[in-house]
């Protein structure tokens, strides 16, 4: 298999091509540095993303409070995580840093508030 990626390790944005099978990476080309190679490998084997959204607040001044995952979650679980986030209603008052959902969907990441409500 073959995939074209744009490296995001730095603003350069190198176009990288990765050849791989189900079990291994065969080649990484197009990168200008080691970081690019590492980025490309992770993108194929275990791509992750930070997730930010908001959570409904009950009894607060503001209707929603912003949240983030405290570590990246698997990219293919972003929409599943959104479903979880959308099903929650947190009681006011909410404090910045407060854990809203612990270990969301077993990813090891917590969903935490990023502002006071």
């Amino acid at each position: 298999m073959k995939r074209d990626l744009t490296c995001v390790a730095c603003p350069l944005g190198c176009p990288i091509t990765v050849e791989y099978t189900d079990t291994e990476i065969i080649s990484v080309t197009g990168n200008t540095c080691k970081r690019g190679e590492a980025y490309a490998k992770t993108e194929i084997t275990n791509p992750t993303r930070s997730l930010t959204s908001s959570v409904k607040v009950c009894g607060g001044v503001l209707p929603v409070v912003p949240v983030k995952s405290d570590k990246p979650v698997p990219k293919d679980m972003l929409f599943d995580c959104m479903k979880e986030i959308n099903s929650v209603c947190v009681k006011a008052p909410v404090k910045i840093g407060q854990v809203i959902i612990e270990n969301i969907l077993g990813t090891g990441a917590n969903i935490v508030a990023t502002n006071n409500d």
């Binding site: 908001s54 959570v55 409904k56 209707p63 929603v64 959308n86 209603c89």
Partner: protein, 477 residues
Amino acid sequence: MCYDVAVIGAGVIGALTARELSKYNLKTVLAEATNDVAMGASKANSGIVHAGFDAKPGTLKAQLNVKGCAMMKELCEKLSVPYKNNGSLVVAFSEEEMDTIKDLYDRGIANGVPGLSILSKEELKALEPNLADDVAGALRAESAGIVCPYELTIAATENAVVNGVDFVRNFRVKEISFADGVFTLKSDAGELKAKYIVDAAGAHSDEVAKLIGDSCVNLVMRRGEYFILDKAVGDMVSHTIFQCPTKMGKGILVSPTVDGNLLIGPTAEDIEDKFDKSTTANGFKTIKTFSVKSCPAVSVRNAITSFTGLRAHPVNDDFILGPSKVNPQFIHASGIESPGLTSAPAIAEYLVDIIRNAMGDVTENESFNGTREDVFRFRHATDEERAEAIAKNPAYGRIVCRCETITEGEIIDAIKAPAGARDVDGVKRRTRAGMGRCQGGFCGSKVVEILARELGTEINEITKFGAASNILFDKTK
């Protein structure tokens, strides 16, 4: 309940006619098809008070223009509407065009226009130094002015309501029947009964007339596109600058507005769709080409917005005013294109005279108060007035629209006013919130919040201008 008069259409003609009717002991209803007043040509025109030299002598246009122009200043003072007697100039670019200027001068004299003079190139440039160098001369009309057309409509409606007129919105007349000397007007929202109808439905007045079987109103929709430029260039000219008129109208003008912006436009293009208020790439080009001809320094780079107005051009080239041949209790007020705004106060009197004469024993409303209570405008107030206003109502201390310096208090006033604002554009026209350089980027969402709070609804119920023009969908969570 049966009204004496139902005025259909709350444009400037309908609103001023309703106000004029409220001077008499008549039960009047002003029925508007949309969510607000001034939603047709009255909100999207040049805002010019024409002196009256354009129309052919002897026409209704000529007669009512000159009369309306003379009435405008006092009316605007009473209704607390911005008006400025800035004068107009029709500019010629050749000796041939100077001949047209002379014709216009003669026509103006025949129409009884005061304060007309023909200027030489030097006199013209001294008066307006930013005009093009190849001007040949101009016709100056000292009686011409500028007015805010939608504010006039809003103020007239408000004053009519204060004096007893009922205002009904979202009432699009779909059927009219007549029995025992009384009309029944039906819309999706219900029905109204009235002895007389004034058809001031603007672009739709031909359709309304057809509802009683009168097909004498023959209109062509003429699209006019405009740019509004930033206040930074609002003083490029002090007069309203016209070019020599053509068959399609008065051409592209460059004019200051009462709010301090510069207005350029309109184009003139006949179209089919009465609801088509889109702007076009060709229109933009035309405005650019012709506005720089008058004023080379005009640049659409300073544009803060553009808009389109539809004027209902009557095929016979004159206003259609008076009783229908089908039913004399149905009064036409159709084909009110330019100088319709200028003529409006005179048209209102003209129409009400017809109704009074027809009805016979109409008495004056002794409690009529033609003066609209002063509207607090933070931006125009002195520091002392501001401090005093905030002490009385703290909402005047909260600036919502930062570009135009509009306070929350003024927005609440606009919503609570008689026939007040129900949507974002309604607040904008009444207060100017969202009309500045950021065009509501910052204050738009705050206006939505204030509307929802004052009207007691959720913010996703609030629309831009009624109907399906909602701004928000469901909650995210």
